[in-house]
Symmetry: C2
Subunit: 133 residues, 2 copies
Amino acid sequence: MRPFDVIVVSHGNLAEAMVDSACMICGDAEAVRTVGLHPVESPESFTERLLAAISPNRPTLILSDLYGGTPHNVAMATARRSEAIRCVSGVNLGLLLEAITADETLDDALVERLVALAREGVTELTSRAGSPS
Amino acid sequence: MRPFDVIVVSHGNLAEAMVDSACMICGDAEAVRTVGLHPVESPESFTERLLAAISPNRPTLILSDLYGGTPHNVAMATARRSEAIRCVSGVNLGLLLEAITADETLDDALVERLVALAREGVTELTSRAGSPS
């Protein structure tokens, strides 16, 4: 069993598509849950569906698509109800892959490492051939 | 007309889903093109489709899903053929929204600003209520 659950939340189908893309690369993302905000959905409805996706008492990492968006705001409010839930915003494919393959406890050190790796993965490529900086 | 074109490239349908999600928020992303790598597609085929999506001589920003993945590698090789093309890896929804709404010339300063904004959008939310840092 993974050391923690991963849930991706987003506007629309972005979360589901990102998990599908992760599966293309690592083939092991099927168990990751997703909750996508429908175009006319209320925050209350989205909250209900997010809560239904969370396994009680399981350490859970929620990755949200956009700081300040409804999925993010709902995730943050949900995380405040339980110390077992952590949230990171601005998910990109690199962050999702790192979260899926992490074999550590979901603690401050892991969250900081995931945030750092996701940020390092955002890089301008055109002017150089080296690794991200 | 926008000052530059935006193309999102990804594994699978991630690029298309991200643009759809951006449309949910800003309603102005329809013109953004996407090229998604199919599960069994060769880099050569993907290259052909990316080249077909680029308007010759138009400043073009390519946003790729993952540093080191095939979409990224093809985008970087393509960008090296033209100074009008810039690439940024690790796209997240915040980066796409900033790129879509940018009203500036596609130059070093803009690319640096976009990279910085995308990185700032990756943040751990759980332990504080303030803005990203």
